[in-house]
Amino acid sequence: MTLANSGVAIVDYGLGNLKSVAEAVSSVGGTAEVTSDPHVVSGASKIILPGVGAFPVAAQALASSGLGEAVVHAAQRGSTVLGICLGMQLLFDIGNEFEVTRGLSLLPGEVNQISIDEGPSKLRGTHIGWRNLSVENLGQIHPLFRGIRDGESMYFVHSYAAHPSRADHLLASVKYGGSQIVAAAGDENVFGVQFHPEKSGRAGLRVIENFLAT
Protein backbone atom coordinates (compact mmCIF):
# COMPACT_ATOMS: atom_id res chain seq x y z
CA MET A 1 0.00 0.00 0.00
CA THR A 2 1.38 3.41 -0.94
CA LEU A 3 0.26 6.99 -0.71
CA ALA A 4 -0.35 9.19 -3.72
CA ASN A 5 2.40 11.73 -4.35
CA SER A 6 0.52 14.58 -2.73
CA GLY A 7 -0.28 12.52 0.36
CA VAL A 8 1.19 13.02 3.81
CA ALA A 9 1.70 10.07 6.12
CA ILE A 10 0.95 11.07 9.70
CA VAL A 11 2.74 8.60 11.93
CA ASP A 12 0.44 7.06 14.52
CA TYR A 13 2.46 5.50 17.33
CA GLY A 14 -0.15 6.17 19.99
CA LEU A 15 0.89 9.68 21.04
CA GLY A 16 -0.13 13.13 19.92
CA ASN A 17 -3.14 14.94 18.58
CA LEU A 18 -3.31 13.10 15.25
CA LYS A 19 -6.82 14.26 14.46
CA SER A 20 -5.91 17.94 14.59
CA VAL A 21 -2.75 17.42 12.53
CA ALA A 22 -4.76 15.57 9.88
CA GLU A 23 -7.44 18.29 9.82
CA ALA A 24 -4.77 20.96 9.49
CA VAL A 25 -3.21 19.18 6.50
CA SER A 26 -6.64 18.83 4.86
CA SER A 27 -7.53 22.46 5.51
CA VAL A 28 -4.54 23.65 3.44
CA GLY A 29 -5.38 21.31 0.58
CA GLY A 30 -3.24 18.29 1.43
CA THR A 31 -4.27 14.67 1.72
CA ALA A 32 -3.46 13.16 5.07
CA GLU A 33 -3.35 9.54 6.02
CA VAL A 34 -2.98 8.67 9.68
CA THR A 35 -1.10 5.39 9.65
CA SER A 36 0.63 2.94 11.95
CA ASP A 37 1.86 0.84 9.05
CA PRO A 38 5.67 1.08 8.62
CA HIS A 39 5.36 0.19 4.93
CA VAL A 40 3.11 3.16 4.25
CA VAL A 41 5.48 5.43 6.16
CA SER A 42 8.64 4.25 4.45
CA GLY A 43 6.99 4.66 1.04
CA ALA A 44 5.61 8.15 1.70
CA SER A 45 7.20 11.22 0.15
CA LYS A 46 6.04 13.42 3.02
CA ILE A 47 5.86 12.39 6.63
CA ILE A 48 4.63 14.18 9.74
CA LEU A 49 5.81 12.81 13.07
CA PRO A 50 3.58 14.27 15.78
CA GLY A 51 3.95 13.60 19.46
CA VAL A 52 2.95 14.66 22.93
CA GLY A 53 4.25 13.01 26.06
CA ALA A 54 7.56 11.67 27.31
CA PHE A 55 10.64 10.99 25.14
CA PRO A 56 11.47 7.45 26.40
CA VAL A 57 7.90 6.18 25.97
CA ALA A 58 7.71 7.62 22.45
CA ALA A 59 11.17 6.35 21.43
CA GLN A 60 10.21 2.89 22.68
CA ALA A 61 6.92 2.96 20.74
CA LEU A 62 8.73 4.03 17.55
CA ALA A 63 11.32 1.27 17.97
CA SER A 64 8.98 -1.59 18.78
CA SER A 65 6.50 -0.74 16.01
CA GLY A 66 9.15 -0.40 13.30
CA LEU A 67 7.79 3.10 12.59
CA GLY A 68 11.01 4.81 13.69
CA GLU A 69 13.04 2.76 11.24
CA ALA A 70 10.48 3.52 8.51
CA VAL A 71 10.81 7.28 9.09
CA VAL A 72 14.61 7.05 8.97
CA HIS A 73 14.50 4.95 5.82
CA ALA A 74 12.18 7.39 4.06
CA ALA A 75 14.27 10.40 5.11
CA GLN A 76 17.42 8.76 3.78
CA ARG A 77 15.69 8.26 0.44
CA GLY A 78 14.93 11.98 0.36
CA SER A 79 11.35 12.13 1.66
CA THR A 80 10.58 15.29 3.61
CA VAL A 81 9.87 14.86 7.31
CA LEU A 82 8.27 17.29 9.74
CA GLY A 83 8.47 16.50 13.45
CA ILE A 84 6.07 18.37 15.72
CA CYS A 85 6.79 19.04 19.42
CA LEU A 86 7.96 15.71 20.86
CA GLY A 87 8.08 14.47 17.26
CA MET A 88 10.72 17.15 16.58
CA GLN A 89 12.72 16.16 19.64
CA LEU A 90 12.72 12.53 18.51
CA LEU A 91 14.57 13.50 15.32
CA PHE A 92 17.72 14.19 17.37
CA ASP A 93 20.40 11.77 18.67
CA ILE A 94 19.70 11.72 22.37
CA GLY A 95 16.87 12.59 24.75
CA ASN A 96 17.63 13.28 28.41
CA GLU A 97 14.08 13.10 29.76
CA PHE A 98 13.99 10.83 32.85
CA GLU A 99 16.72 8.65 31.32
CA VAL A 100 19.18 8.85 28.43
CA THR A 101 17.34 7.55 25.37
CA ARG A 102 18.37 7.27 21.72
CA GLY A 103 16.34 9.24 19.21
CA LEU A 104 16.19 8.75 15.44
CA SER A 105 19.49 10.60 14.81
CA LEU A 106 18.17 12.33 11.70
CA LEU A 107 19.49 15.60 13.12
CA PRO A 108 22.64 15.86 15.27
CA GLY A 109 22.06 17.14 18.78
CA GLU A 110 20.26 16.37 21.99
CA VAL A 111 17.18 17.23 23.99
CA ASN A 112 17.41 18.64 27.50
CA GLN A 113 15.09 19.99 30.15
CA ILE A 114 14.44 23.71 29.96
CA SER A 115 16.22 25.29 32.88
CA ILE A 116 13.60 26.96 35.07
CA ASP A 117 16.33 29.31 36.32
CA GLU A 118 16.54 30.81 32.86
CA GLY A 119 13.09 32.33 33.05
CA PRO A 120 11.19 34.41 35.56
CA SER A 121 9.75 32.71 38.64
CA LYS A 122 6.25 32.55 37.20
CA LEU A 123 7.26 30.16 34.43
CA ARG A 124 6.09 27.24 36.54
CA GLY A 125 8.22 24.56 34.89
CA THR A 126 6.40 24.15 31.61
CA HIS A 127 6.78 26.48 28.66
CA ILE A 128 3.13 26.90 27.69
CA GLY A 129 1.31 29.48 25.64
CA TRP A 130 1.64 31.69 22.59
CA ARG A 131 5.15 33.01 21.94
CA ASN A 132 6.67 35.28 19.36
CA LEU A 133 8.83 33.47 16.87
CA SER A 134 12.14 34.78 15.49
CA VAL A 135 12.31 33.23 12.06
CA GLU A 136 15.59 34.60 10.83
CA ASN A 137 18.81 32.68 11.32
CA LEU A 138 22.18 33.58 9.83
CA GLY A 139 20.37 36.15 7.70
CA GLN A 140 18.08 33.56 6.11
CA ILE A 141 14.42 32.69 6.32
CA HIS A 142 13.80 29.01 5.75
CA PRO A 143 11.12 28.04 3.18
CA LEU A 144 9.16 26.52 6.08
CA PHE A 145 8.56 30.09 7.31
CA ARG A 146 7.81 31.73 3.99
CA GLY A 147 5.07 34.30 4.51
CA ILE A 148 5.43 34.22 8.29
CA ARG A 149 6.43 37.59 9.65
CA ASP A 150 9.12 37.84 12.29
CA GLY A 151 7.46 37.93 15.70
CA GLU A 152 4.44 35.83 14.70
CA SER A 153 2.83 34.00 17.65
CA MET A 154 2.82 30.21 17.79
CA TYR A 155 1.49 27.87 20.46
CA PHE A 156 4.04 26.03 22.58
CA VAL A 157 3.64 23.44 25.32
CA HIS A 158 6.80 21.62 26.41
CA SER A 159 9.29 21.21 29.25
CA TYR A 160 12.22 19.92 27.17
CA ALA A 161 13.95 21.57 24.24
CA ALA A 162 16.25 20.52 21.41
CA HIS A 163 19.88 21.62 21.17
CA PRO A 164 21.08 21.10 17.60
CA SER A 165 24.84 20.52 17.28
CA ARG A 166 25.03 22.61 14.14
CA ALA A 167 24.25 26.32 14.19
CA ASP A 168 23.01 26.20 10.60
CA HIS A 169 20.32 23.70 11.64
CA LEU A 170 18.57 26.34 13.73
CA LEU A 171 15.59 27.65 11.76
CA ALA A 172 13.62 29.63 14.35
CA SER A 173 13.78 30.47 18.02
CA VAL A 174 11.78 32.00 20.87
CA LYS A 175 12.95 34.15 23.73
CA TYR A 176 12.84 32.50 27.11
CA GLY A 177 14.05 34.66 29.94
CA GLY A 178 17.53 35.78 29.02
CA SER A 179 18.15 32.97 26.55
CA GLN A 180 16.66 31.42 23.42
CA ILE A 181 14.78 28.17 22.92
CA VAL A 182 14.99 26.37 19.60
CA ALA A 183 11.56 26.68 17.98
CA ALA A 184 12.48 24.98 14.71
CA ALA A 185 15.43 23.05 13.34
CA GLY A 186 16.24 21.17 10.17
CA ASP A 187 18.54 20.31 7.30
CA GLU A 188 17.67 19.71 3.61
CA ASN A 189 14.65 17.45 4.03
CA VAL A 190 14.21 16.82 7.76
CA PHE A 191 12.53 19.56 9.79
CA GLY A 192 11.15 19.88 13.26
CA VAL A 193 9.03 22.50 14.99
CA GLN A 194 8.75 22.73 18.76
CA PHE A 195 5.44 24.62 18.59
CA HIS A 196 2.17 23.11 17.41
CA PRO A 197 1.43 24.44 13.91
CA GLU A 198 -1.90 22.59 14.01
CA LYS A 199 -2.85 24.68 17.07
CA SER A 200 -1.34 28.02 16.09
CA GLY A 201 -4.15 29.48 14.03
CA ARG A 202 -3.62 30.76 10.50
CA ALA A 203 0.12 31.27 10.93
CA GLY A 204 0.52 27.65 12.00
CA LEU A 205 -1.48 26.46 9.01
CA ARG A 206 0.85 28.46 6.78
CA VAL A 207 3.82 26.49 8.15
CA ILE A 208 2.04 23.24 7.27
CA GLU A 209 1.23 24.59 3.82
CA ASN A 210 4.90 25.51 3.38
CA PHE A 211 5.91 22.01 4.44
CA LEU A 212 3.61 20.50 1.82
CA ALA A 213 5.29 22.72 -0.77
CA THR A 214 8.84 21.61 0.13
Binding site: S20, R124, T126, K199
Partner: protein, 259 residues
Protein backbone atom coordinates in the same frame (compact mmCIF):
# COMPACT_ATOMS: atom_id res chain seq x y z
CA UNK B 1 6.81 41.79 34.38
CA UNK B 2 10.42 41.98 33.30
CA UNK B 3 11.47 43.76 30.13
CA UNK B 4 13.09 40.69 28.62
CA UNK B 5 10.20 38.34 29.11
CA UNK B 6 6.65 39.52 28.77
CA UNK B 7 4.38 36.57 29.12
CA UNK B 8 1.11 37.32 27.36
CA UNK B 9 -2.12 36.51 29.14
CA UNK B 10 -4.17 33.82 27.41
CA UNK B 11 -7.77 34.72 26.59
CA UNK B 12 -9.95 31.64 26.67
CA UNK B 13 -13.47 31.47 25.27
CA UNK B 14 -15.55 29.27 27.56
CA UNK B 15 -18.42 27.31 26.06
CA UNK B 16 -20.73 25.63 28.55
CA UNK B 17 -22.74 22.96 26.79
CA UNK B 18 -25.65 20.69 27.51
CA UNK B 19 -26.06 17.95 24.96
CA UNK B 20 -25.36 19.69 21.68
CA UNK B 21 -26.47 23.15 22.86
CA UNK B 22 -24.50 26.11 24.08
CA UNK B 23 -25.95 27.15 27.43
CA UNK B 24 -25.20 29.63 30.15
CA UNK B 25 -26.56 29.92 33.62
CA UNK B 26 -25.82 32.00 36.65
CA UNK B 27 -23.82 30.46 39.50
CA UNK B 28 -23.68 27.33 37.31
CA UNK B 29 -27.46 27.01 37.64
CA UNK B 30 -30.61 27.99 35.73
CA UNK B 31 -29.17 26.88 32.45
CA UNK B 32 -30.45 28.64 29.36
CA UNK B 33 -29.90 27.57 25.75
CA UNK B 34 -28.02 30.16 23.69
CA UNK B 35 -27.33 28.36 20.43
CA UNK B 36 -24.77 26.19 18.69
CA UNK B 37 -21.45 25.90 20.53
CA UNK B 38 -19.42 25.08 17.45
CA UNK B 39 -20.77 28.06 15.54
CA UNK B 40 -19.61 30.33 18.37
CA UNK B 41 -16.34 28.42 18.61
CA UNK B 42 -15.54 29.11 14.96
CA UNK B 43 -16.35 32.80 15.43
CA UNK B 44 -14.14 33.12 18.52
CA UNK B 45 -11.32 31.30 16.71
CA UNK B 46 -11.54 33.77 13.83
CA UNK B 47 -11.62 36.67 16.27
CA UNK B 48 -8.40 35.53 17.90
CA UNK B 49 -9.33 33.54 21.01
CA UNK B 50 -6.15 31.90 22.31
CA UNK B 51 -7.92 28.72 23.42
CA UNK B 52 -11.36 27.20 23.69
CA UNK B 53 -12.84 25.57 26.76
CA UNK B 54 -15.83 23.24 26.41
CA UNK B 55 -17.56 22.34 29.65
CA UNK B 56 -20.52 20.00 29.93
CA UNK B 57 -21.83 21.05 33.32
CA UNK B 58 -24.50 18.39 33.59
CA UNK B 59 -22.51 15.44 32.25
CA UNK B 60 -21.44 14.49 35.78
CA UNK B 61 -25.06 14.23 36.83
CA UNK B 62 -26.30 12.10 33.99
CA UNK B 63 -23.19 10.05 33.24
CA UNK B 64 -23.24 10.95 29.61
CA UNK B 65 -21.64 13.37 27.28
CA UNK B 66 -21.83 14.52 23.68
CA UNK B 67 -18.52 16.26 24.03
CA UNK B 68 -16.41 14.02 21.82
CA UNK B 69 -18.86 14.47 18.96
CA UNK B 70 -18.72 18.26 19.33
CA UNK B 71 -14.93 18.18 19.44
CA UNK B 72 -14.66 15.90 16.42
CA UNK B 73 -16.67 18.43 14.45
CA UNK B 74 -15.05 21.61 15.68
CA UNK B 75 -11.43 20.59 15.06
CA UNK B 76 -12.16 20.56 11.33
CA UNK B 77 -12.06 24.35 11.24
CA UNK B 78 -10.63 25.49 14.55
CA UNK B 79 -6.84 25.38 14.97
CA UNK B 80 -6.16 26.52 18.52
CA UNK B 81 -5.87 24.46 21.72
CA UNK B 82 -9.10 22.96 23.01
CA UNK B 83 -9.78 21.88 26.58
CA UNK B 84 -12.78 19.70 27.28
CA UNK B 85 -14.39 18.93 30.60
CA UNK B 86 -17.49 17.34 32.07
CA UNK B 87 -18.23 13.74 32.88
CA UNK B 88 -14.63 12.56 32.66
CA UNK B 89 -14.39 9.58 34.97
CA UNK B 90 -11.66 7.30 33.72
CA UNK B 91 -8.46 7.19 31.69
CA UNK B 92 -10.50 5.78 28.79
CA UNK B 93 -12.77 8.86 28.77
CA UNK B 94 -9.66 11.03 28.45
CA UNK B 95 -8.32 8.86 25.65
CA UNK B 96 -11.59 9.19 23.74
CA UNK B 97 -11.60 13.00 24.03
CA UNK B 98 -7.95 13.33 23.04
CA UNK B 99 -8.50 11.09 20.02
CA UNK B 100 -11.46 13.26 19.04
CA UNK B 101 -9.06 16.19 18.86
CA UNK B 102 -9.02 17.74 22.34
CA UNK B 103 -5.63 18.88 23.65
CA UNK B 104 -6.42 18.96 27.34
CA UNK B 105 -9.07 17.49 29.56
CA UNK B 106 -10.58 19.21 32.60
CA UNK B 107 -11.52 16.98 35.51
CA UNK B 108 -13.53 18.01 38.56
CA UNK B 109 -15.98 15.64 40.27
CA UNK B 110 -14.20 12.40 39.44
CA UNK B 111 -10.89 13.75 40.70
CA UNK B 112 -12.45 14.82 44.01
CA UNK B 113 -13.94 11.35 44.42
CA UNK B 114 -10.82 9.55 43.27
CA UNK B 115 -7.72 11.82 43.26
CA UNK B 116 -5.63 9.00 41.78
CA UNK B 117 -7.33 9.63 38.45
CA UNK B 118 -5.18 12.76 38.03
CA UNK B 119 -2.01 10.72 38.39
CA UNK B 120 -3.25 7.97 36.08
CA UNK B 121 -4.12 10.47 33.35
CA UNK B 122 -0.83 12.36 33.75
CA UNK B 123 1.13 9.12 33.52
CA UNK B 124 -0.77 7.97 30.44
CA UNK B 125 -0.89 11.21 28.43
CA UNK B 126 1.41 13.68 30.14
CA UNK B 127 0.82 16.37 32.72
CA UNK B 128 0.31 19.03 30.04
CA UNK B 129 -3.13 17.66 29.19
CA UNK B 130 -4.44 17.39 32.76
CA UNK B 131 -6.48 20.40 33.86
CA UNK B 132 -7.96 20.30 37.34
CA UNK B 133 -11.30 22.05 37.27
CA UNK B 134 -12.17 23.56 40.65
CA UNK B 135 -15.63 24.95 41.33
CA UNK B 136 -15.13 27.25 44.28
CA UNK B 137 -17.69 28.86 46.55
CA UNK B 138 -16.80 31.42 49.15
CA UNK B 139 -17.76 30.24 52.64
CA UNK B 140 -16.21 32.88 54.86
CA UNK B 141 -13.91 35.90 54.65
CA UNK B 142 -10.81 33.81 53.98
CA UNK B 143 -12.03 30.46 52.77
CA UNK B 144 -13.50 28.83 49.69
CA UNK B 145 -15.03 25.37 49.44
CA UNK B 146 -14.75 22.87 46.57
CA UNK B 147 -18.06 21.98 44.91
CA UNK B 148 -18.77 19.20 42.42
CA UNK B 149 -21.47 18.17 39.96
CA UNK B 150 -21.84 21.54 38.26
CA UNK B 151 -21.78 23.54 41.49
CA UNK B 152 -24.50 21.50 43.15
CA UNK B 153 -22.71 19.38 45.75
CA UNK B 154 -20.44 20.63 48.50
CA UNK B 155 -17.46 18.52 49.45
CA UNK B 156 -16.14 20.11 52.64
CA UNK B 157 -12.74 20.47 50.98
CA UNK B 158 -10.66 23.63 51.08
CA UNK B 159 -9.95 24.99 47.59
CA UNK B 160 -6.27 25.79 48.16
CA UNK B 161 -5.43 22.50 49.87
CA UNK B 162 -7.09 20.67 47.01
CA UNK B 163 -5.13 22.63 44.39
CA UNK B 164 -1.85 21.81 46.11
CA UNK B 165 -2.72 18.13 46.35
CA UNK B 166 -3.85 17.99 42.73
CA UNK B 167 -0.62 19.56 41.48
CA UNK B 168 1.33 16.94 43.44
CA UNK B 169 -0.75 14.23 41.79
CA UNK B 170 -0.23 15.45 38.24
CA UNK B 171 -2.47 18.38 37.33
CA UNK B 172 -0.65 20.54 34.79
CA UNK B 173 -3.03 23.46 34.92
CA UNK B 174 -5.81 24.65 37.23
CA UNK B 175 -9.14 26.06 36.07
CA UNK B 176 -10.68 27.96 38.97
CA UNK B 177 -14.37 28.81 38.52
CA UNK B 178 -16.00 31.05 41.07
CA UNK B 179 -19.56 29.76 41.53
CA UNK B 180 -20.48 33.08 43.17
CA UNK B 181 -19.43 35.07 40.12
CA UNK B 182 -20.24 32.62 37.31
CA UNK B 183 -22.62 34.18 34.79
CA UNK B 184 -22.93 37.48 36.69
CA UNK B 185 -20.60 39.55 34.48
CA UNK B 186 -19.74 41.49 37.65
CA UNK B 187 -16.04 40.77 37.65
CA UNK B 188 -13.77 38.01 38.92
CA UNK B 189 -13.49 36.89 42.53
CA UNK B 190 -10.10 38.61 42.72
CA UNK B 191 -9.15 37.37 46.18
CA UNK B 192 -9.82 33.77 45.18
CA UNK B 193 -7.77 34.11 41.99
CA UNK B 194 -4.97 35.95 43.75
CA UNK B 195 -4.63 33.22 46.38
CA UNK B 196 -5.03 30.35 43.92
CA UNK B 197 -2.39 31.71 41.54
CA UNK B 198 -0.04 32.36 44.45
CA UNK B 199 -0.10 28.81 45.80
CA UNK B 200 -0.33 26.94 42.49
CA UNK B 201 2.93 25.66 41.01
CA UNK B 202 1.22 25.30 37.62
CA UNK B 203 -0.66 27.82 35.43
CA UNK B 204 -4.06 29.05 36.66
CA UNK B 205 -7.06 29.94 34.48
CA UNK B 206 -9.50 32.34 36.14
CA UNK B 207 -13.17 31.82 35.31
CA UNK B 208 -16.44 33.33 36.43
CA UNK B 209 -17.69 36.89 36.27
CA UNK B 210 -15.88 38.47 33.37
CA UNK B 211 -18.08 41.09 31.72
CA UNK B 212 -15.74 43.87 30.62
CA UNK B 213 -12.10 44.36 29.72
CA UNK B 214 -11.71 46.31 32.98
CA UNK B 215 -12.48 43.07 34.83
CA UNK B 216 -9.58 41.41 33.02
CA UNK B 217 -7.15 44.23 33.75
CA UNK B 218 -8.13 44.26 37.41
CA UNK B 219 -7.55 40.49 37.54
CA UNK B 220 -4.13 40.81 35.95
CA UNK B 221 -3.02 43.69 38.12
CA UNK B 222 -3.98 41.91 41.32
CA UNK B 223 -3.15 38.28 40.65
CA UNK B 224 -0.63 36.18 38.75
CA UNK B 225 -3.09 34.03 36.82
CA UNK B 226 -1.94 32.87 33.39
CA UNK B 227 -5.27 32.97 31.62
CA UNK B 228 -8.75 34.46 31.81
CA UNK B 229 -11.85 32.62 30.64
CA UNK B 230 -14.88 34.48 29.36
CA UNK B 231 -18.21 32.98 28.35
CA UNK B 232 -21.54 34.71 28.75
CA UNK B 233 -20.36 38.23 27.88
CA UNK B 234 -19.02 36.90 24.56
CA UNK B 235 -22.06 34.77 23.79
CA UNK B 236 -24.44 37.70 24.27
CA UNK B 237 -22.12 39.92 22.26
CA UNK B 238 -21.59 42.36 25.11
CA UNK B 239 -17.86 41.86 24.82
CA UNK B 240 -15.93 41.23 21.60
CA UNK B 241 -12.54 39.56 21.55
CA UNK B 242 -10.85 42.11 19.25
CA UNK B 243 -12.01 44.98 21.51
CA UNK B 244 -10.90 43.11 24.60
CA UNK B 245 -7.45 42.49 23.14
CA UNK B 246 -7.03 46.07 21.98
CA UNK B 247 -8.06 47.51 25.26
CA UNK B 248 -5.65 45.24 27.20
CA UNK B 249 -2.85 46.13 24.78
CA UNK B 250 -3.50 49.83 25.29
CA UNK B 251 -2.99 49.30 29.01
CA UNK B 252 0.33 47.58 28.37
CA UNK B 253 -0.96 44.09 29.14
CA UNK B 254 0.60 41.47 26.87
CA UNK B 255 -1.80 39.50 24.71
CA UNK B 256 -1.13 37.37 21.68
CA UNK B 257 -0.04 39.31 18.64
CA UNK B 258 -2.90 38.40 16.32
CA UNK B 259 -2.54 39.70 12.77
Amino acid sequence: MSEVFKKPIRLIARLDVKGSNLIKGIHLEGLRVIGSPNEKARLYYQQGADELLYMDAVASLYNRSYLSQLVTEVVRNVFIPITVGGGVRAVDDVKQLLRAGADKVAINSAAVRSPRLLRDVAESFGRQCVVLSVEAKKTSAESWEVYVDGGREKTGRDVFEWIEEAVQLGAGEILVTSIDRDGTEKGFDIELMEKASKISAVPVIASGGMGTSAHASELLSKSTVDAAAVGRALHYDRLKLPDLRNSLLSEGIGVRDFG
